[in-house]
Structure formats: C-alpha cells, structure tokens
C-alpha cells in the first residue's frame, strides 16, 4: 500500500510532504516538537490539517478542503506516543479490539490477540486490566494492539521508548519480522531502529522535512544538523558466514549477532564511526576487523573529524589527523573491534 502525503497545519507550523512506497517502512526522525506525531496524526485522521491531500494506494484519505475520510475508514492503525489502553478492557480485549472492530468474531479476535501478545512477549499479562501494568508492559500491549489491527499502513510512534534495554533487541527483531512485508511509518529517537527497520528515512525539524532518502544514504551523508547529530553509522550488507558478514566484495566483518544467524542468510553489520580506529600499518591485537583502504575525504563532524573512505567512515579527534598526517588519498587501515559491531539479519 503506497502513501502520498502533503499537509500543512498552520498553528503548529507544519508543512510536510512525503510518500511511502508499497511494502516500504519509513522512519521519521527529528527532535522533540518537530512535528513527527502530528504527521502520523494527519495520516491516521485524528489531526485535521489546514490544507493538503493524502492518498493510500490511490484511495483518497483527504483532499482538503473537499474531502476528509474519517479515521476508522482509512485502513491505518496508529500506536500513539501515549499507550492509552482502554481502561475498562482486559489486556487481551485491548489487543483484540482492532480485529473485533473489523468484524472478526470474538473467538477469532481473541485468538489473534493471543498471537500478538505472544509476539510482544506479554502472554502472561492477558487477563490484567491496564491499571495493573507497568509502563513498559503497557507500551508493549499498545504495540500489540496496533499490530493486531492489521492495517494497510501501520503507524508506530516511538514504540520502544519505555522498554528496558534488555528487551529492546527482541522487540526490534519482532518488528523487523512483521514490518518486512508491510507498509509502515515508525517515529523513533533511536537511529538503530531506523537502520534496522526502515527502508527510507525522513528527518524533520521545526515542522519541515529537512532530509529524506534511503536510510543508508541519509545516515551516511546527513545534510541536516539533526541528521548529522544522530547519523553516520557504518553499514555493511552481505550474507552471514560463521557469525560474521561477508560482503559481496568479499570483505568479511566479524561482530556480535544475537540471535545467531544461519549461514548465507542476508545480514547487516552496523557500527559507529567513533568505534573505528585509524592505523597506518595493520596492527596486531584484539581487533578482529582491519580493512585496508584509502582516505577519500576529511570533514569536520562536531568536535571531531570524520575520515571517509569508499565504504566506511571513522571519527577521530583533531590531534590524530595531524599526528597520522591524514589526507585524501592516504593509505590507511580502518580497525574495529568485533565487540563493537552489531550483526542483524537483514
């Protein structure tokens, strides 16, 4: 299901336009108050823009001032920032609310609800009332509720904000799985979510889209201030091979993969430029990954300097540049510890 959106909201100073292709997952990044939730609200039909139009798969969602399709008829499901579980329903019935509303039988809805509760690892909470949940539990239920509605376009507003970091990886895997063949928009503050879940990224600042494009590109070469602040992750795609990733060009990069990935499955290795050390000779030591390459360019990156090569970047402090006499064209080794590299199924 593909989405086309243009909208302005005057009193929130919002003016945006973007699209989501069929089956694509779009991540919206941006600082607090940038208008991310507002954008989701406009798509979901609960915030009324002053002008604009949107269509989902060719069907008009709104075309102001003439048309306005109500929220329930849009085929979108929104998991808002505030979980807002229905206080009078049990957790199970909260999750079953979407299917039930779409006409599924009570039994079927319960079935589905149980399935999605299991997916978010909250089966044992099924019989509770929302008032008896912890903050993180409530958020997981809210995610399950949105997923259970099986929308044409899924809208997730910071689905992992209240989760403890030990469950975040599992949740991310689950989302990765369910978002794979779905059109979805996910608002997040964590670049890793964007990297792992999204095909494309939109960066918003003060109600405007300041950056947009394929995740890899935006994060590799952010042009906006916010983008630069959060982005710059190194990504290497390839196939899993003995816990490492082998790229099409034959490079192997080692890292930590949890859960383990079967060999020859597509996989991606992610690591931060700041974890990458620059050497002039291949060092002998613990770091498992050393890539011989050439400096492409040097650019300031905050208080540091970003050393760009063909494929990877490294952030180093200013004295390093002088000491190692870095300059475009110089042959270097980029070294990164395996324990700094996260490997995920792609």
């Amino acid at each position: 299901m593909s989405l086309e959106l243009t909208a302005t909201i005057d009193n929130r100073d919002l003016d945006i336009s973007f699209s989501v292709a069929d089956g694509e997952t779009l991540a919206i990044l941006g600082p607090n108050g940038a208008g991310k939730s507002s954008a989701l609200g406009v798509i979901a039909g609960i915030v009324h823009p002053d002008s604009g139009r949107a269509s989902l798969d060719g069907e008009t969602l709104f075309d102001l001032p003439a048309e306005w399709r109500p929220a329930h008829a849009r085929g979108t499901a929104l998991m808002a920032q505030d979980p807002l579980l229905f206080p009078h329903l049990t957790v199970l019935d909260n999750v079953g609310f979407g299917p039930r509303s779409l006409g599924k039988s009570r039994r079927e809805s319960r079935e589905l609800a149980r399935h999605w509760l299991a997916e978010v690892d909250a089966s044992e909470l099924a019989a509770r009332k929302p008032s008896q949940l912890s903050g993180g539990q409530a958020q997981r239920i809210a995610v399950a509720r949105a997923l259970a509605a099986e929308p044409r376009l899924l809208l997730l507003d910071e689905p992992m904000a209240a989760l403890d970091i030990t469950v975040v990886p599992a949740m991310r895997q689950m989302l990765k799985r369910v978002l794979a063949d779905r059109s979805a928009i996910i608002v997040t503050h964590d670049v890793l979510d964007a990297v792992l879940l999204a095909d494309r990224v939109v960066v918003m600042e003060s109600g405007r889209i300041v950056e947009e494009g394929a995740t890899k590109e935006v994060l590799a070469r952010p042009r906006s201030q916010f983008g630069a602040g959060i982005a710059g992750l190194n990504l290497m795609r390839g196939l899993a091979a003995g816990g490492a990733v082998r790229t099409p060009s034959g490079t192997t990069i080692e890292g930590l993969s949890e859960p383990p990935i079967a060999d020859d499955e597509p996989a991606v290795a992610v690591f931060n430029p700041s974890s990458v050390a620059v050497y002039l000779t291949r060092p002998v030591g613990s770091p498992r990954n050393a890539f011989a390459t050439k400096v492409l360019e040097l650019e300031p990156h905050g208080s540091q300097v970003r050393v760009r090569t063909e494929e990877l970047s490294a952030d180093v402090t200013v004295p390093v540049v002088a000491e190692l006499d870095l300059m475009p064209g110089k042959e270097i080794f980029l070294v990164v510890k395996a324990s700094e590299v996260a490997i995920y199924p792609a």
Binding site: A44, G45, I46, P70, A71, H72, A73, G75, T76, A77, L78, A80, L84, F86, P87, H88, L89, F97, G98, R100, S101, L102, S131, R145, A146, A149, P151, L155
Partner: protein, 263 residues
C-alpha cells in the same frame, strides 16, 4: 489490601457533607416517626396500594427505558458535535425540568390529545393515548428525559474523547466506538442518569394527573394514590410514601452496586 491509594479528601469536607446528609435524612426520620406502624401493613397491602405500586414500577421502568433509548443519543449529540443552534436546542431539551409538571401535562395533552397537534394522525392510526397506561409512561418520560440528558452530557464532556480517538485509529467505526468505548467509559454517568430518570418517573405526579388521569390499575400510580389517600387520611399517605421510599432504595441499591473508583 494493596492498591494505588486514593489521596484522601479534606477532613473539613465531612462537615458540610454531614450537614447536607442530615438535612435530607432528618425529615425522612421525622416522617418515619409519624407512621402508625400498627396499621402500616394492612394499609400498604390494600388492593389499591398494591395496584398503584405495581403500575408505578412498570411505568417507571418503561419510561426509564425510553429515556435511555432517546436520552442517551441526545446527550451524545449535544456533547460530541457542535452545530448552529445547539445551545438553544440544549435549553429546549432541558425545559421539562423547569416547566411545572402540570403545565407539562397540558403541553402533552395539546400534542397527543384527541384535539392535539398529533391527535388526528394518531386517531387515524387507531392509537388512543389519553387515559391509558401509555400516557403515564409518556408523561414520566417527558419529565425524566432531561435528567438523563444533562447528567450524561456532563459526564461525556468531563470524560473527554481520548479513548474514542484511539479506538477510531484502530479501525472501529463510530457505532463500535460508541458501544465498546464511549458507553462503557461513561457508565457511571449513564447509571446516574438512569437512576435520576427512574426516580423522577417514580415520583411523577402533576404531568400524569393532567395528561393521563387517575384510574386504579390503569393510570393511578403510587404518587397519585398517595395524594388521594392524603385527602382522607394523611397518615396513610405518609405510610404509603414510605413504601415508595423503600422501593426506591431497593431499586437504586440494586442498580448501583458500588464499584471501586478506577484510577
């Protein structure tokens, strides 16, 4: 018991609350103290009393049903939409509250009576409302309706729309939202409205006598019976009132199982 605790209410508030409660309860005590208990049971089990009580309960239940069927939609329209003339409509709907019931009865006569606005239409349809139990129900519903509307509208507004919006984003059509979210959430207000409507119906006198008349078993409800008894024997009337009171307490008690305040 562990639970998120209530934060407590100011101590001093018990003082006006107690004064208020006394103000209501003392007269009831005074009333009860005047009843001649020796005659009480023979009195309240007389044919006419029992007939009146039964009729009252039946008609009040029906009129409460009408209030729910039509009052709830009105409250929702008033609380959840805005249109030109809404505040005028609201005031109009509240009018039976202030209209002296007798005048309300006259108005109903002018509308549903043989020579009333709809009288001819009803005649053609073969429907005779006046002097029937239907008239009693209509009279009660007319005076009780605003109670449901006002009480529920207040609750609807105070409850806000957050959960309704969430439900819509999950694909629930308005009817589903209404049934599965709005109504369950405002249940305390709806219950309050229904209790008020039932109580008002049970106590209704003026509009009934004017519009429906007073015939034993057909239109003479308990308040009418009490009023009549009073002409002869005021004490009998008081005793009968106590019956009404007891019935009301029972019915209200049944409807309103106190549930823990949700947090």
């Amino acid at each position: 018991m562990s639970a998120t605790t209530s934060v407590g209410i100011p101590r001093w508030i018990y003082v006006p609350a107690a004064v208020g409660a006394l103000f209501i309860v003392l007269p009831l005590v005074a009333l009860a103290s005047r009843v001649e208990w020796s005659h009480f049971f023979s009195l309240i089990t007389s044919d006419s009393s029992v007939a009146a009580l039964k009729l009252s309960l039946r008609t009040s239940a029906l009129s409460t049903l009408l209030c729910i069927l039509f009052g709830v939609p009105m409250a929702i329209v008033l609380a959840r939409t805005s249109f030109r003339g809404q505040s005028i409509l609201r005031s109009l709907v509240l009018l039976p509250l202030v209209l002296p019931p007798v005048v309300g009865g006259i108005a109903l006569l002018y509308t549903f009576g043989r020579k009333g606005l709809l009288g001819h239409t009803l005649d053609v349809l073969g429907i005779q409302i006046a002097f029937s139990t239907t008239a009693v129900v209509l009279a009660q519903a007319f005076v009780a309706m605003p109670f449901m509307v006002v009480s529920l509208e207040g609750t609807l507004r105070a409850a806000g729309q957050r959960y309704e919006v969430v439900a819509a984003t999950l694909g629930a059509r308005p009817t589903t939202v209404l049934r599965r979210v709005t109504l369950p959430l405002v249940l305390p207000g709806l219950a309050a409205g229904a209790i008020l409507a039932f109580a008002r119906s049970l106590g209704e006198f003026g509009a009934t006598i004017t519009f429906a008349g007073s015939l034993q078993g057909v239109t003479r409800t308990l308040p009418l019976e009490i009023y009549l008894q009073r002409e002869g024997d005021p004490n009998a009337a008081v005793a009968l009132s106590l019956v009404l009171v007891v019935v009301a307490v029972l019915v209200i008690g049944l409807v309103r199982r106190p549930r823990g305040g949700q947090l």
